[in-house]
């Protein structure tokens, strides 16, 4: 679990200058693709020499955010995209999970327990919910990498 910095607090999307992400993934928003994203971040973290505990936290938070897109962003019969961006900045991993649907809205028949966002907020150094320039819903998470981490 991340150990330093303030705990995540949902808030408006950041107005920081957008940088080109180091990694961009785009897949259909389907349950099976959550594992693909998770696995891809395993490779991403391997190249950055991230320690196992930090990687576990990152994977869990990303899994929760991607699952939110799969469950909430699109109707069951609607095909939509799951977009994931990741950037490394000053020994911090910034992950943005985006959808092109309705975003995260309450769903009366949701199969989840409603623990996803609080869990992400606990695992990440910061958490922001908002919309990008094209009004697509995005979840922005920042993770502090371990001391040995960072850009190789």
């Amino acid at each position: 679990m991340a150990t330093d910095g303030s705990r995540g607090t949902p808030g408006p999307a950041s107005n920081e200058v957008t940088v080109t992400p180091d990694l961009e993934l785009k897949l259909p928003a389907r349950a099976e693709n959550v594992a693909v994203v998770r696995h891809a971040f395993g490779g991403f973290a391997e190249a950055l020499s991230v320690d196992e505990q930090t990687l576990a936290d990152i994977k869990l938070a990303i899994t929760e955010a991607c699952t939110n897109v799969v469950i909430h962003a699109y109707d069951d019969d609607e095909d939509g995209a799951l977009e994931v961006d990741a950037s490394i900045d000053d020994r911090r991993l910034i992950v943005v999970i985006r959808d092109r649907g309705r975003g995260i809205v309450p769903r009366p028949d949701s199969p989840g327990l409603g623990l996803g966002l609080p869990l992400i907020a606990t695992l990440a150094e910061s958490l922001e919910l908002g919309k990008d320039d094209a009004e697509h819903t995005e979840v922005r998470m920042t993770f502090a990498l371990d001391e040995d981490g960072g850009v190789p």
């Binding site: 961009e24 389907r30 099976e32 693909v36 696995h39 490779g43 095909d79």
Partner: protein, 150 residues
């Protein structure tokens, strides 16, 4: 419009990763997962990862932005990687760069089809399509379940 603007379909993914040490581990994992999901046998999975590694190592040198852009598509019987946009002549240069001393050209030896193409309106940008076919060693799960499975 590049493939980054295209909505991936079932068992497809668009991957853009900065060139360098991040590219290989990320691209290899995405290709590996989609190939496995398409019932790719282990020998061809190994070949697909070899191709992914070659692309990850070289493609950024021939792209416009120093990034590796790949659209991965896997289905029962084949996996296809579309690399680009690449600079003019970048597709041929990428293939040539995959030659290894004593081994030959990795892409040409492993792939069933390699095709360079251009799209109108992209200023000569090229795309390299690499297809690996494979025979299923056993019927796919779908086939074994039968068409009338409930």
């Amino acid at each position: 419009m590049t493939f980054n603007d295209v909505e991936p379909g079932s068992n497809e993914a668009s991957v853009t990763v900065v060139g360098g040490p991040l590219a290989g581990p990320v691209l290899g994992r995405v290709v590996g997962m989609l190939a496995a999901r398409a019932d790719c046998p282990i020998d061809r999975l190994d070949d697909a990862l070899l191709v992914a590694d070659a692309i990850a190592a070289k493609a950024a040198s021939f792209s416009y932005d120093g990034r590796v852009n790949v659209f991965v598509s896997a289905e029962i019987g084949s996996i296809e990687l579309l690399v680009g946009p690449l600079r003019p002549d970048g597709a041929d240069d990428l293939v040539e760069s995959a030659a290894l001393p004593g081994v030959g050209n990795v892409l040409e030896r492993v792939a069933d089809e390699i095709e360079a193409s251009q799209r109108d309106g992209e200023g000569g940008a090229e795309y390299l399509r690499i297809r690996l076919g494979f025979d299923l060693q056993r019927p796919s799960m779908i086939d074994r379940m039968g068409s009338d499975a409930s």
